[in-house]
Symmetry: C2
Subunit: 287 residues, 2 copies
């Protein structure tokens, strides 16, 4: 049976690109089926119930920060008193450069009168669009924009989308890398039940830990938790918060570099937190 890999659809999204990046070089004899999912929540659910083996979900963008939907799903699955009992964890990460492309059947930019894309793209391609006198039409995803081009099949419209969308729908790229910031990168996480066979030779060097602090008006409750990590020589790579179910209280997410003391730290902070969970362990990829 082929390996079933889910991603936030439709085909041609940057999530699809992340899935291809993760699995196309996999040294395994198994075939890979890439299966678009309707939402990030569906990615979590399908990987948990085994409908798919792995799922790629967006987690953080270098310019825009947290993908809050994904953080909130980790919160729901891992921090609700263990009600959902997740069978999956994070097993890998992928950094995907976000390069936007002008995709069209037209051979000449002057013929284009209308461009379709996701609303976020307009602010990411401000310099390119400033010189054009075209109508901008919002779509639900960048790859949906290319799908619309296929239906229209004319030379006056274009889409702005990923190179993968151009491949998937077989519509040419007229101009590539039209984004203002060529360093814009999104980090995706791969969810699954088991480590990938290709990575079993490497020990994971990063852990994502989530916790909520005990209600405590004393100064230094977060400091005391972080001091435990420090005293075991464990360095944090990131720290961030999301609202908890209690208004104006927070769930914390920290990424911690691996070291011998992690599980001792988690034991030591038990009195300071209401809940704590390791969402996953994975190798830090090159950025």
């Amino acid at each position: 049976m082929s390996l079933r890999v889910g991603y936030l659809g439709p085909p041609g999204t940057y999530s699809h690109q992340a899935a291809l990046q993760q699995f196309s070089k996999l040294e395994t004899k198994r075939e890979v089926s890439y299966l678009p999912q309707k939402s990030i929540a569906a990615c979590f659910k399908s990987v948990n119930d085994g409908t798919i083996d792995y799922a790629l979900v967006p987690f953080e963008n270098s310019s825009n920060g947290q993908v809050v939907f994904t953080y909130d799903l980790f919160k729901e699955w891992f921090m609700n008193g263990g009600e959902l009992k997740p069978k999956f964890k994070i097993i890998s990460e992928q950094f995907v450069p976000i390069h936007h492309n002008l995709i069209t059947y037209s051979d000449c930019i002057e013929k284009i009168t209308k461009i379709y894309s996701h609303p976020q793209v307009w602010t990411q391609c401000r310099e390119f669009l400033a010189d054009l006198d075209v109508e901008k039409q919002d779509t639900s995803s960048t790859s949906k924009a290319v799908e619309i081009l296929v239906q229209l099949n004319d030379h006056t419209t274009a889409a702005i989308a990923s190179a993968t969308a151009s491949d998937v729908y077989n519509v040419p790229i007229l101009q590539n890398n039209i984004e203002d910031n060529s360093n814009n990168t999104t980090r995706f996480l791969c969810l699954g039940h088991n480590p990938l066979s290709s990575s079993t030779t490497e020990e994971p060097n990063m852990h994502l830990v989530t916790f909520s602090i005990k209600e405590n008006q004393q100064p230094g409750s977060l400091c005391d938790i972080l001091a435990e990590f420090k005293s075991h020589g464990l360095n944090l790579a990131s720290i961030t918060t999301r609202p908890s179910s209690i208004p104006w209280q927070y769930v914390f997410f920290v990424e911690v570099w691996d070291g011998p003391g992690l599980y001792e730290v988690l034991e030591n902070i038990k009195d300071l937190v209401t809940e704590v969970a390791v969402v996953g362990s994975f190798n830090r990829k090159l950025k």
Copy 2:
């Protein structure tokens, strides 16, 4: 001259409601003019150059978390090596309960075939909408939806928006509080050059501090900063991060309860940070 108070427009938004909440009970002889601004960035710019005296900007929602546009504007104004030299600071906060209302000229819900609102509203009124067989039409703001109703002037359309929007456009509320979560609240901050005269009798008890940590692969760099706050008995109310201009590095925002040692702490952490700024000091309002 009247007091000029800006807010994220158009009239009738929850930002408008925050402005009314902040200034309608002001014990001053001065008249207040409420001036809609085109964007949150325009609120910052207008208050800085003195076109308006105060501006209300959304900062955090109890369910959805950070309003990232506002955080990023604080980052731009206060954390770019002091290039922009802001003349304003945060001088107050307002908690605004988010209650959605079905606003329509119709006297009967069964006649309604189409509802206009901001896309976020659909997920916030899921239970109410589940029972209705209507077409949903996205608008750029909830109050824009009511403005459209006025133009249409018929009995088959409705908008979902704030009570302030119903007042501003004089269209009746057919059903109020149709949101799923009646505790959903947005916190707004008031920006200005000077404290409000009404609040001068009270000492501010909350400070918003922003800093970026020196590039440091040693464990415990954040811990060392928080330890300074702790050793001076200063409790944090919140901590959160946004991406800095360097990919995968972060700018921190902490809210700190007032205490005698704050400026000593800021002096002591100078060697641990590349930049640090107090964005403002204000009274914690009742939630």
